[in-house]
């Protein structure tokens, strides 16, 4: 019990100490704290990673991969920009305008344009790291099963694998199975992958030290791809009945013949479902990161109000940050759950059987 308590305390210390100095360093230069800009900068992508623990303040340069209009493919480290102040081979980080914080170059007309930018940014690094971690965990688990589960003498995993088995089977049996219906085995691998991909990225995003608290699932590009996968799978594996219900639904004929009102609504529905998935995950995780950052900013905002207020607000901030971080762990699970469940429901809805079979049941 005692040692467990110590672990929890250490965990909290890492969270708090890891977050707090990040802002200390970024606000040193200006006395006025622009909270909005600060939060937006931190939830957005970046070309370098910061590690701050107990005063150790390190900037990790990340590789930049760009293809400019006139300079072709270029690969170099982000340290060449000297934190956005210097130019490298015609590329520089825009400090204002539409492309604020992004790599830009000047074209022949002298306008700022975005090159093709495949840089390993903070988010990309987090994404790749989580992906590798997830693959390693699941594949080592699978190989454990292959090794230990013989037909006539199957074994039950213990420890972490036991927990993971519980987790996987819980998602499989309690989300996927009831939501998809009888065809669930065909779609379980995708839905499980989606769940654990989102979950591990959500959790990794909560760790401020490494990979730099990357806001991966709070980035619209990431949720867009996830939603696209769900949309493609829903529509590719949709039954004939599903398509019939979209283009010739069982409604009064005037709703579909001269002007196809219902088909139009249904077609829009195909797009709104994954759109809702995309926005929900993106907004929830972004909001979580913003709240944590906002609470930490309390410390810096109240600096001008005097030592007493600043100290008390610091304590409030730390307590609230811990609380919100714990809530965010819950949110990490809930959002993965919701995304998986809704994807499963959409897939299940696209697996409809012709109506006469329903009529028999009633």
């Amino acid at each position: 019990m005692n040692s467990r308590l110590k672990y929890i305390l250490a965990f909290i210390c890492i969270f708090v100490l890891g977050v707090a100095p990040t802002f200390a360093s970024s606000t040193e230069s200006s006395e006025d704290v622009n909270v909005k800009e600060l939060i937006l900068d931190h939830v957005a992508d970046a070309y370098e990673g910061h590690i701050n623990i107990l005063g150790l303040n390190a900037t990790i340069p990340l590789p930049i991969i760009v293809k400019g209009e006139n300079s072709g493919w270029q690969i170099f480290m982000s340290s060449n920009f000297h934190h956005g102040t210097a130019e490298h081979n015609g590329f520089y980080i825009a400090s204002s305008g539409d492309y604020r914080g992004k790599i830009v170059e000047k074209n022949q007309a002298g306008e700022e344009v975005r090159p093709w930018d495949f840089s390993i940014t903070k988010n990309t690094l987090g994404l790749l790291l989580s992906s590798v971690l997830l693959i390693v965990i699941i594949l080592s688990m699978a190989s454990w099963y292959k090794k230990h589960s013989k037909e006539d003498d199957p074994k039950v995993p213990k420890g972490f694998f036991g927990f993971m088995e519980l987790f996987i089977m819980n998602v499989n049996d309690d989300i996927i199975k009831p939501c998809v219906g009888k065809n669930y085995k065909k779609f379980a691998p995708y839905l499980l992958t989606a769940f654990f991909f989102i979950f591990i990225n959500n959790i990794m995003g909560l760790i401020p030290i490494f990979p730099f608290g990357a806001n991966v699932t709070g980035n619209i590009a990431v949720t867009l791809v996830l939603a696209l996968f769900t949309m493609v799978i829903v529509n590719v594996f949709g039954t004939k009945e599903y398509w019939k219900e979209i283009f010739w639904p069982e409604v009064p004929t005037w709703l579909k013949v001269p002007i196809p009102i219902m088909p139009a609504i249904e077609v829009v529905g195909i797009l709104t479902k994954p759109f809702a998935l995309m926005i929900r995950l993106f907004a929830n995780i972004l909001a979580g990161h913003s709240i944590v950052l906002g609470l930490v900013c309390l410390i810096f905002v109240t600096v001008q109000l005097g030592t007493a207020i600043n100290t008390s607000m610091t304590i409030v901030s730390v307590v609230l940050t811990i609380f919100i971080d714990l809530v965010e762990i819950l949110v990490a699970y809930i959002q993965a759950y919701v995304f998986t469940m809704l994807s499963a429901v959409f897939i299940g809805l696209a697996q409809v059987e012709p109506h006469h079979s329903h009529a028999e049941k009633h």
Binding site: W116, T121, S131, M141, K146, S149, P189, F197
Partner: protein
Amino acid sequence: MLLQPEAGLLFWMLLSFGIVFFVLAKFGFPVITKMVENRNAYIEKSLDAAKEANSQLAHIKEESEAILATARDEQVKILKDAESTRNRIISEAKEQARAEGQKELDELRKQIQREKEDAIKDIRRQVALLSVDIAEKVIRNNLSDEKEQMAMIDRLIDETMVSKS
């Protein structure tokens, strides 16, 4: 700014999620879920087998109890039989022993009788011999007087009687 998907991240996401999806959907999750389902099936099968074995065991127990009951009856019967047989044998043996004893006793009695008769015969012979002896002695004494003769005889008889007794 936040609502604009970045082409670079989009590319990396597509790539990494595609790879993760491919690898895990092919080699990861199906293996795990299949193994767990196999194990569940195995557990169910084992439970069924155990139930069956239990019912069989109960059946066997019943049977064995029945066998035991009949065996107990048999035992009682056998014990009873044995007792009666024993009693019979004992009584027979007693009877036989008594008969044997009787026979022996009779034999003995007969022998005693025989011996008694022999003894009497012997006495008789002795008496005869004695008589002959006495007669000899009397003759030898030349008995003149009848009186003396009689006295003599009496005396001799007395003597013999005394010696005899």
